[in-house]
């Protein structure tokens, strides 16, 4: 592991080098309608590189590029339709550890031994991730409660840290865990950067972590997976979810929600995101709906993330704690409030599993 120090011009230089070799997807700040938003976009030309905006957590995630909202899967009679413009490898730049953890989770689901999704795989192939962190905890973030590190993830061989208050070559640190997959001229560019001290960076990161610890009071008291049967039956689901208006925004912006729906356009099969928060998600052809009420849909969403998913994937939660569902929700319904209700019900029932 090595550490390099960069100033803003050197970071732009690095991105310019990378742009020659990769299709770069990076966060930008854009004006859309009445909102100013940070979104991942593909860099189309070198001139856009200085506008890459890293400081805030983007609203969207790499999910939009790996499992797109709407995807043509090809002709019914010809399944070799996997042409996704792969002439260059894709580089996702400036990705937080929670979003990297979400991609890890997608890999578990879509590249599992028994069920490999060729469409997912073809977009996921040839991806490179450069991680990112700074001293500001994104709003409503609770990833630490889900045991996701703030400043590292195994999917990212390179990790960029921005010390927003510092100037010059103390502004950015680049941690290089391995550069073996990088093209030579990029290795060379990195080698020519000023050497940084690993212990100094580690000190900085631990200071930031300590600061974050004071900024969040939320804690998950019971062990995951939550006991499915008991939680399903005993929690008063209506109480914490009563303000839900059923729009599904939480699931659309969620980096880990992957449910989709198939449909046909002539002979072309397509899939598009679906959401368990919609009534149509479970409505039968007969008109019967096993999840008639919104609180039952919430029960499904919460149990999927904190009970079914960890059951199926070695205890790993189906949520990465990024906080997007909370601030994108039109009525600010907080998933932590619902988790808390589950926790309290389990604790009151006297059957709480071992304290974490």
């Amino acid at each position: 592991m090595r550490v390099k120090k960069l100033n803003s011009a050197e970071l732009i230089g690095l991105l310019e080098e990378l742009f020659k070799e990769y299709r770069i997807i990076a966060p930008f700040k854009v004006e859309q309608g009445r909102l100013t938003r940070v979104l991942y976009r593909e860099i189309r030309s070198k001139t856009e590189i200085p506008s890459v905006y890293l400081k805030e957590l983007p609203e969207t995630t790499p999910k939009n590029f790996i499992l797109p909202r709407d995807e043509r899967l090809g002709d019914e009679r010809n399944s070799d339709n996997l042409d996704f413009n792969q002439d260059k490898a894709k580089l996702f730049f400036g990705v937080r550890s929670c979003d990297l953890a979400a991609i890890d989770l997608f890999d578990d689901v879509f590249l599992e031994d028994d069920y490999q999704d060729p469409f997912y795989e073809s977009r996921r192939n040839n991806n490179l991730f450069i991680g990112y962190g700074n001293q500001n905890l994104p709003p409503n973030n609770f990833q630490k409660e889900l045991e996701i590190e703030y400043f590292d993830h195994r999917l990212a061989p390179l990790y960029l840290y921005e010390d927003i208050d510092a100037r010059g070559r103390d502004h950015y640190y680049l941690m290089i865990k391995t550069d073996s997959d990088l093209p030579d001229q990029i290795k060379e560019y990195i080698n020519n950067l000023e050497e940084g001290k690993i212990d100094k960076l580690e000190k900085l990161l631990s200071d930031w972590e300590n600061k974050f610890a004071n900024e969040t009071s939320f804690e998950i008291k019971n062990k995951l997976p939550f006991p499915e049967g008991q939680v399903f039956a005993e929690v008063d689901w209506d109480k914490p979810t009563v303000s839900c208006i059923g729009c599904g925004v939480c699931t659309y912006y969620c980096p880990t929600c992957f449910c989709f729906d198939f449909f046909w356009e002539d002979r072309t099969k397509s899939r598009a995101w679906d959401s368990c928060m919609f009534s149509l998600f479970t409505e039968h052809a007969s008109g019967h709906n096993p999840r008639e009420e919104q609180h039952q849909r919430w029960r499904q969403r919460l149990l999927h993330k904190f009970s079914y998913h960890p059951q199926n994937f070695e205890g790993k939660p189906g949520c990465v704690g990024c906080g997007r569902c909370i601030y994108k929700c039109p009525v600010n319904l907080d998933i932590r409030k619902v988790i808390n209700e589950v926790d309290n019900t389990l604790t009151e029932g006297g059957q709480a599993s071992a304290e974490r």
Binding site: P139, V242, S243, I245, C247, N332, D334, R336
Partner: protein, 290 residues
């Protein structure tokens, strides 16, 4: 002068305490800060023991329409904190006979200072409640907010059809079909919305610019004579789509041609039941100035 959020909050906390003392009801709809997020959220208080008046607040971010939540439980007696636009939605419910006046305890906000970033508040013509049992804040004199129809300006109000089409095509290209605009709208309350209808299918699966346009225009078509111009649709949109000027235009046109504004009185006829022979017939696709 508008009341300040702080004054309203203080008055509201006292009034809600009074309501708990004097009234019989099954639940109270109000705003509070989220325990972990600190963001304002609608709360529904069912038990007196869960109630702490200090937690009830009103801020510039109180954009969700509490009136909408009344419809979930039409048969029980409910108390509700209502912005003036909420009271208009409530008056509209009563005029449509979908909720019983006797089942409502309305705590109306006088002299509403408006909601941050909500462009509807710039066109607001109702800053005091039209119907309420309790009032908080000082009422505003009507002369301070009543607007002549000629004074009202809104996005694209003077633009050509081409420019409007371009604007909406661009805006709707971001639509993710979450239908939060519909879900947040206080006067969208059909038991079965065309969006979810599969016999016939009005909207195809998948994202498609034409389908997005169909959805937004169909939603708009259902709105004249119903829209109370509260701006909840636009505030709810996660993509920040500026769609409010469609319904707002119809709101102002209904006023211009028929002197009609929904939800001003509880015994009001609906726009389409209120026909008389003298009504102008501006025509479906008439352009301004024709």
């Amino acid at each position: 002068m508008n009341n300040s959020y702080k004054e309203i909050t203080e008055d509201l906390q006292k009034t809600v305490e009074l309501v708990f003392k004097e009234e019989e009801f099954e639940q109270l709809l109000a705003y509070s800060f989220g325990e972990f997020s600190g963001l304002i959220e609608p709360v529904i208080i069912k038990e007196k023991r869960d109630f702490e008046s200090k937690k009830i607040v009103f801020t510039e971010d109180a954009y969700p329409m509490l009136s909408k939540y009344l419809l979930k439980n039409r048969d029980i007696r409910q108390a509700v904190v209502a912005k003036p636009c909420d009271t208009r939605a409530i008056a509209f419910y009563i005029s449509e006979n979908i909720i019983d006046r006797d089942n409502l305890i309305i705590i109306g906000i006088n002299g509403c200072p408006g909601i941050k970033e909500n462009t509807a508040c710039d066109e607001c013509d109702t800053k005091n409640p039209v119907i309420a049992d309790y009032f908080v804040g000082e009422p505003l004199d009507e002369s301070e907010f009543a607007k002549e129809i000629e004074e009202i300006e809104y996005l694209l109000s003077d633009e050509t059809a081409e420019k409007r089409k371009k604007h909406y095509s661009e805006e709707f290209s971001r639509c993710t079909q979450c239908y939060a605009c519909r879900d947040a709208c206080p006067v969208c309350y059909c038991d079965h919305c065309f969006v979810e209808s599969n016999q016939p299918i009005w909207l195809e699966d998948g994202s498609d610019p034409e389908e997005d346009m169909v959805f937004h225009l169909m939603r708009t078509m259902h709105m004249p004579g119903r829209c109370v111009n509260c701006g909840a649709c636009e505030m709810a949109c996660p993509e920040g789509i500026e769609m409010r000027s469609l319904t707002s235009h119809l709101y102002h046109q209904a006023r211009r041609y028929f002197d009609y504004r929904p939800g001003l009185k509880i015994d009001q006829l609906s726009l389409f039941s209120d026909y008389n022979e003298e009504d102008p017939e501006p025509g479906f696709l008439q352009q301004e100035g024709d």
